[in-house]
């Protein structure tokens, strides 16, 4: 116990500071969530009674989120984008894990640093550089050959690629860390028992990596779902949820339907957080 500072008053002050810090941490989240249940057209005090209209209300002025077509569309696009980013990044992350832990790649350290780099480039820059590059290719093809490649114009494909460009670093780091801890004698035992390479990969190595792959996939899904900076520059007419919500927030004067969405999203991330904790607990048990 490091209670070296001795006197009780100091410790009490310290505890109060911690309490204040935790209030600071949750206050905005509570504010964002709680007004979803306020029976008023403004997300502010005074409290006018409990309602679920901001979720299920069917008509203006109390149009609930489950009947707001633009919000639902945003939710759908975000979901599609996040799922694609997550699948792509887990795949690439797994390949990178084998590349950096198992292969005899020359200049491994150099490539490792290159792999980490996208995480330190500001998201805004990733967004504009990919926008510029894709547009240049699209314009060149259009001008010289008359080929119009629609997916190179701002839209879902570019958003997925933009988010993938740095999410892949996160998944690679997570899965690589797990593979480094793998006990290779397990594979050797399987080879000795007559298993083929593919069989060993399928029934020993990949199951061992699965908790890390699931956890990385969940993190990738969330990071993608919540991403704003990179998405902002690459978005076309199909706006994901964050962009739709931002537009309404920046205009101000929105109804508590945004609080309902916030509450919904917080619950969603909560569930994902619990799943990823359970998956990782499984990892320590083994």
């Amino acid at each position: 116990m490091a209670r070296r500072s001795g006197n009780q008053a100091f410790l009490l002050g310290y505890r109060l500071y911690m309490a204040a810090f935790f209030i600071f941490l949750v206050a905005p989240l509570i504010a964002a969530g709680i007004f979803a249940f306020n029976d008023s057209v403004f997300p502010s005090l005074p409290w006018k009674g409990f309602t679920l209209d901001w979720f299920f209300g069917t008509s203006e002025p109390k149009l609930g989120m489950f009947h707001d077509r633009r919000l639902l569309q945003g939710l759908y696009y975000s979901f599609v984008i996040a799922l694609s980013v997550s699948a792509l990044s887990v795949f690439v992350g797994t390949c990178n894990a084998f590349l950096f832990v198992r292969s005899n790649l020359p200049a491994k350290n150099f490539f490792y640093i290159i792999m980490v780099l996208p995480l330190v480039i500001p998201g805004v820059i990733l967004g504009i550089s990919i926008l510029v590059f894709a547009s240049t290719i699209a314009n060149t093809l259009d001008d010289s050959y008359g080929i119009d490649l629609d997916f190179l114009r701002p839209g879902i494909v570019l958003v997925v690629l933009g988010q993938f460009s740095f999410v892949a670093t996160i998944t690679s780091l997570v899965i690589t860390a797990r593979l480094r801890k793998f006990d290779e004698t397990m594979e050797e035992a399987a080879y000795n028992l007559g298993a083929s390479r593919a069989r060993v990969l399928r029934s020993i190595t990949l199951p061992y990596l699965r908790p890390a792959m699931i956890a990385a996939g969940i993190v990738a899904f969330l990071v993608s779902f919540e991403n704003f900076n990179t998405t902002l520059f690459l978005v076309g007419s199909e706006s994901p949820l964050t962009i739709t919500m931002f537009d309404r927030m920046a205009k101000g004067g929105s109804t508590p339907v945004l609080n309902a969405v916030s509450f919904f999203l917080m619950m969603g991330s909560g569930v994902l957080a619990i799943i990823s904790i359970l998956v990782q607990r499984d990892r320590t048990a083994r």
Partner: protein
């Protein structure tokens, strides 16, 4: 056993085949990384670099040159915004460190083993909630009709609604909140590895709380402080949402200027130049931080 013998006694041809297979699998494994880095990072940045060096001399007429960069330094408003972004980011980093250090120390050294885990998890909660919702929460707390203004009036501390939003203080609070976690996680894990005996030795040698903090705890926590500060600074300087939503239209954040050039004015050449300036600037600060502390990029990033 039979299989092992088979593996140990391959013919010469199969050795060749085996080596080829290894090389092939190396190339296959390398492809995703290569495609990702070349197509999504390297070429786009080169393209942006070339674009930023194009001067517009007439409609659809361009020439290579540094005009876009020169414009940045000649137009005071641009580098004022950049300097402002840098100063506020630095302030946010220092504040996050000052606020976060006691929290990390408490979690790592004072809290009991059971509360420790719970507190750490609690600190991670905002990570699971998007930036947008966090900023939205602050808007609802700080604006004229918001919760804090309401409480101030209710307690009689203010007689009329108070607008706490759309000023620099709101931006700083929002940013500190957003990045806090990236300070606490590396700090806590560094302090966690510290042996309590070191602190006790400091006291036994007659140091008071302040000396022990200054001479023992802070030097030990330095790697955590450096990686936390670097990440926090980068995130802050590159942030867009929080300054725009909490600072309002005239928050003058550099990323906002880039957005204006790209989307509002459709001046991609100058937007690309500004993007590069931001990239140079943040990389420069990160480089200085790493040099001063003698750490490497991969260990810093991996820690957070």
């Amino acid at each position: 056993m039979v299989n092992q013998e088979r593996r140990l006694l391959p013919g010469a041809g199969s050795v060749m085949k085996h080596r080829d297979a290894r090389r092939l699998s190396l190339i296959l494994l390398f492809m995703p990384l290569a495609l990702w880095i070349v197509l999504l990072i390297l070429l786009p940045h080169i393209g942006m670099g070339i674009l930023s060096l194009r001067e517009k001399i007439g409609p659809r007429q361009y020439e290579f040159g540094l005009a876009n960069y020169i414009a940045f330094f000649q137009e005071p408003i641009y580098w004022h915004i950049m300097a402002r972004t840098a100063v506020i980011s630095l302030l946010v980093t220092v504040l996050a460190l000052i606020v976060g250090f006691p929290v990390s120390y408490y979690i790592a050294k004072i809290a009991g083993p059971r509360t420790r885990g719970a507190m750490f998890m609690f600190c991670l909660i905002p990570l699971w909630v998007s930036d947008l919702i966090r900023a939205f929460g602050w808007i609802l707390l700080l604006r004229e009709t918001g919760v804090i203004s309401g409480i101030l009036q209710w307690t009689g501390l203010a007689s009329a609604p108070v607008e706490l939003l759309y000023n620099d203080a709101a931006v700083v609070v929002g940013l500190v909140y957003t990045v806090m976690l990236f300070m606490i996680v590396p700090l806590t894990s560094t302090l966690d590895g510290m042996d309590d005996a070191m602190i006790e030795a400091g006291y036994n040698l007659g140091g008071n709380g302040l000396t022990v903090l200054r001479r023992i705890i802070i030097p030990y926590a330095m790697p955590g402080i450096v990686s936390g500060s670097i990440i926090v600074f980068m995130l802050t300087a590159g942030s867009y949402l929080t300054p725009v939503l909490l600072g309002g239209k005239y928050s003058s954040w550099f990323t906002q200027t880039i957005y204006d050039q790209f989307i509002t004015r459709y001046n991609w050449e100058s937007g690309a130049a500004f993007g590069f300036l931001l990239l140079f600037f943040t990389s420069f600060v990160v480089w200085i931080g790493l040099k001063l502390s003698g750490q490497s990029l991969s260990s810093t990033v991996a820690r957070s």
